[in-house]
Symmetry: D2
Subunit: 346 residues, 4 copies
């Protein structure tokens, strides 16, 4: 019997305050397609949190849809997007970006983050117009392997992009967790200032569904809704997204929930370290990758859900554990207890 699943951060429904708001608003008639009062409120709340009223905010139903929509709205047919080889668009979107006609130029990045040094070689193309033209740099924060960008890193990257006429797009499916990571020194305003477009993930941060795209670069704002409708990314009942983000940005709920998730991940991290085990990546966000003996993994698998990520050597493997807004602390405590007990045996 599985006691608890740490497989991902989308195993449960949503924060109760969202259900309550859905209930309260249920029969109020509203305009469709995102012109409802809840969406307007949510957009205002997000702008206010960013501290910039001039940004454009659009609420989209899911992450892959958001990625393909944003990129297809920016890129000309011959332009490419640069991404880490671990990037979600590179690996787990079934060619969604290519299906809109654009090449992803994948860069090997050990920690899942992009740097100027990693990007530079992709820019020197020869001969002219026989090769694609890089136009967007796609980064994830937190990354797909749990790492987060520092303000210094993002600033350097942002400057580099500006100097090279590159658009910087941050996939923020787990941005709330990144911004609440112990090592983080970025604010949401910083992210808005340093990128051209980014999104704040709702699905993995306490919503039933939804990602909030924030466009800060004026040249990318025009006609976005045409792209949105064309890609099937405009919900008839836009209120469903509006209500959720309105709640998530009330009293910083979304960040509180991310903090909860991060704290529980940290608790597991500490326990793993205490036991003398290491990690595949350095993460203080809500995804951690402990390296454990296969025998320990086999035993834990009987009671807990998680991915066996990749073998590290003949006897040890990295696993992926994810905490969320919904993870109960007692389940984490039970896991740590069982981990310690199991380790004693070997």
């Amino acid at each position: 019997m599985i006691i608890h699943s740490f497989t991902n951060d989308y195993s449960e429904g949503c924060h109760p305050s969202i259900l309550q708001a859905l209930n309260q608003s249920n029969l109020v008639q509203q305009t469709g397609y995102g012109d409802d009062i809840y969406t307007l409120n949510a957009v205002e709340a997000i702008k206010s949190k960013i501290g910039d009223n001039s940004v454009d905010v659009h609420l989209i139903s899911g992450g892959t849809l958001t990625n393909l929509l944003v990129l297809a709205s920016i890129l000309k047919p011959f332009e490419s997007v640069i991404a880490a080889h671990t990037g979600h668009i590179s690996t787990h979107e079934t060619g969604a970006i290519e299906a809109t006609g654009h090449k992803i130029e994948e860069v090997i990045s050990p920690d899942g983050k992009l740097t100027c040094e990693l990007i530079k070689p992709v820019l020197n193309k020869f001969p002219e117009y026989h090769t694609v033209k890089p136009r967007v740099v796609y980064i994830s924060n937190s990354t797909e392997i749990g790492t987060v960008y520092t303000k210094q890193e993002l600033t350097t990257l942002s400057n580099f992009c500006k100097e090279n006429n590159l658009i910087l797009f941050m996939d923020g499916a787990r941005l709330p967790s990144a911004l609440m990571a112990a090592s983080n020194d970025l604010t949401l305003s910083d992210v808005a200032c340093l990128t051209d477009v980014f999104y704040i993930g709702g699905t993995k941060s306490g919503a039933l569904l939804g990602e909030a795209v924030v466009i800060t670069n004026d040249t990318l704002k025009k006609d976005f809704k045409y792209h949105q409708k064309q890609r099937g990314a405009m919900m008839a009942k836009g209120r469903v997204l509006g209500i959720q983000f309105e709640q998530l940005f009330k009293d910083d709920l979304i960040f509180e929930l991310a903090n909860h998730a991060n704290n529980l991940a940290a608790k597991i991290t500490d326990a793993v370290k205490e036991l003398g085990y290491s990690f595949l990546t350095e993460s203080d966000s809500n995804q951690i990758f402990p390296i454990l003996p296969n025998k320990v993994i086999d035993t834990l698998t009987l009671k807990y859900g998680f991915y066996v990520w990749e073998p590290v050597d003949a006897d040890n493997s990295a696993i992926r554990m994810v905490t969320s807004w919904a993870t109960p602390e007692e389940k984490v405590d039970m896991f740590i207890h069982d981990l310690k007990e199991t380790c004693k045996l070997w």
Copy 2:
């Protein structure tokens, strides 16, 4: 002050039983991407209602996304889809189908329905391979102008498609309303037998969001989930769709709600007829298009929401009124009362 909006059937939230189910299931951990128990239950319920366990059912977040996904999953690059000029894909999806690379061959249809006679001229192409090859016939039931297909009409069309190697795809965004229309003699099983793929709209039938695609043609089933993920149409929290369709198919709720909507539309229809006014289209589904004097329209506009669809002559226009699962009968009564009062004045 607007008393009530008859502008569309997506102005409210969802049927309360769905909210209740979302509440009850909220913290139960489930697998993502549609492999949760609620989705499995919903799929079983839909198969059972159809009476055919061999069909494939997939839950998708919205209508345009469903249309582009289904068509892109069927068509080879050089193949086209035939649709009425009033078809949703022809008019109001911002070129979503063309964006996947395929031509829509639009056929003028006064009542929004397709017939063999209308389709035949599109099939005779010359010269070979200089023209697109029609492969899918797209129909909506009910149509975008409220009309519904009879069993005889759909059977004839279905046979014609089979004889001509054409796939028949029914956009069922408003299928529940069509199947509960007074003139309807089709069952859900009939629809499944007579089409190759169709969907049952949730968004306009009492759900917050969601369309249930049913694939009956075996050759279209393989690898559908690859297409689904690629187009951004696979929700991480698939449970959100599963819970809704599970509820909607419990005790035929979805059809009861459609019946409610149709009855209220019929009540307005009767009143309009009683007043001696005619209609742009013959509809016994939940969308009606009364033709009223512009002066009457102007007065009603002050208290009720609806679209002024198109001018009919200098003094009269057709309006579109839509009822839904959420329309209160007393608001319909008030509208009829106000309509009668207004007409008296002129």
Copy 3:
């Protein structure tokens, strides 16, 4: 035995001066991809003929490739192109434009030409961003049914496009024939002034292959070669195109050849009129559509090649006859003689 084919204007090879130039230049080493001296000379000759050194000229291998390349280079994903229902892109390019992701909005045009009145209804879209946004107006001159634009018509259309932020693109696969038509009052410079982009067909005007795209609108010039390479429209041996257009623009050869074709078509037209027969379209270019008794057609078919275009009534059909730079006058005389003889019989 077929004496002569009037089926099209691409049944023969090319004007002998081109073969001679291919011979003379054959072993001269040149840079690839259109940077050769012959292409440079051809581009200069075309600019000089237009009388505007600021236009961009690109040589492309064929018409469909040119159409899809030009349109894909201009249109954003949600933008559409308006075309006559008879337009080549609407009918005989196997969905090439849609394959690049764009909707063609087809307008019924009896004479194959577009006018402001025909275009206007396509521009009034509602509601915003639920529909495609028209951006390009595609016209053919001469049209697919032989008609040509007057200076007045093209000027009015051009002004309308400018006022409505529409790009005017002329498919000039048979532009030389159009410009040499008896009723024509346009010069090549006029065409350049009145359109944003157009092309001068070589394939149907005496070349083995090749169309010369002329971009006059500055905003469309940038990065065109990226699009060209991406669509497979950049020949390694660009010299092959350069040599041909250099010859075709030497001493106005291309226009002389078009004049020859038009004169022979006119000779047939006169004979047909003399015999009392009418035409499907009014054409003084190199494509004519006489309406003849089916019995006459059947007899002529034994000795001459042409398309039976469409039945006009039970006893008569329109045929399409095309003359070219290579049509020998004696074959036209023979046809006229045989036509007269055949008509006598019935």
Copy 4:
């Protein structure tokens, strides 16, 4: 003054026999779009050389167009093509494949060739339908860096593809050179047996333009001409391609010309080796990559054309030299003489 350019194999026109055939056939009327007698003859000649009458042969104007056409005709939207990172489609086609909607999965290959070992890691995807599905393996022979496949290598790869339901597609832009390489033990029949589809490059083998696609896998044959027309890859005057391939396959001319090119490359190779210099890649086809001192390169650059491919260390660089059917032996002798003289100086 440049004495001779070894920059590429498309600097000259075409073999004189082709010009002669163009002349002789020039005014013979023929059906368009590849249904002419010359194309039929060329197709027969190619089938006969292959020794298999059941293959389909299509003549296309250029390499990039052929690559995108063939791949787009095979791949479903979610399917990918595996290629070496040096593959032409990976690097120098401006994202042409992605523009048709498909991901290229690039594999690092030091010698430009693919092996089962290199491909295997790409096949193990997880989780299902979140990732693209590899469907085609794209190889070039000779490769973009001059190497050629042995019969053993191609057989092993072919078997692996069959076992894994992968289509093997060979880009044969320089296939004649590969088949005439000293180390080659493949025949054209072998290539046809071991691949599902391949092409024989004309542009780089003595033609003005043209690539001959050979489809051996029955499942890929249907409707190819629809794809061809849609991509703008069907020439109105198909005769231009037919005449050329008819000549190239008369008395094995195309292979004789490749032999000439290879022999001259070998002559340079021998001279470079004699001087004690090494090569970036082992090539016995018509592209060689000698590594020379930068000072030598600088001197040779004054008299000969070639690419400086990449720096090898601070003092030496690899250059790319290409010979062709048109390269005069005396120019090769002059180059060798000058190379030796230059080396003496340093």
